[in-house]
Symmetry: C2
Subunit: 136 residues, 2 copies
Amino acid sequence: MQDGTFTSAGHLHETCRGDAYARDCPTRQLLDRIGDKWSVLILLLLGEEEMRFSRLKQRIDGISQKMLSHTLRSLERDGLLTRHPVATVPVTVSYRITPLGRDLLGALRMMIDWAETRMSEVAAAQARFDRERVPA
Amino acid sequence: MQDGTFTSAGHLHETCRGDAYARDCPTRQLLDRIGDKWSVLILLLLGEEEMRFSRLKQRIDGISQKMLSHTLRSLERDGLLTRHPVATVPVTVSYRITPLGRDLLGALRMMIDWAETRMSEVAAAQARFDRERVPA
């Protein structure tokens, strides 16, 4: 096999050359996943401190229970976070970022910094684009 | 209005505080858009040099004509690239990254570098996760 491919179990094959421009390269899927807004927000929060489900849900205004569960599970499967039982009654689970996940934080922070600081320029560009394309 | 919202025309309102954790903040939508794999690949290529549609299509193995058109239009609307007519017969269009788009490249390169270099660790984590969750 020349390029990396997803196996039937859906995990990344290790033989990929790591070329995101190539059709079947898993880097592409990975790129899509780590660029997902919920993943980004969760990883950034866990970069500050480990957190329980309920706290994450509270911090990420508007995320549904289902979407939070789903995204946490994907991130755990990708090796970006781990689950740790907390001795509460009933037992709860705390989520902790892994070294692999922590290595991604620099890029995510740059991305969110760009989005937060340049947002008004994007808004202005969008307004201009829409104005020019709608006949008066 | 306290937070930024999408107007009916769908562009980002400029009054947003720039808090990606807040429910209605357009930073979130922006984050999702710039994290999209096709947007990332297109912007990285245009960071190298301006390119025509046909060349972009050739470089990004597997992208459909429709998806490439759609993504280019979104990126133009967001002010991340501009279109320039080329004096060919028939006239074609070349795409050029803007300074606003160029400012995002650092983050995108870090993200793709991470994906390309840490892919095998992600693959190993996924295989481990799947193995532990399937009863023997």
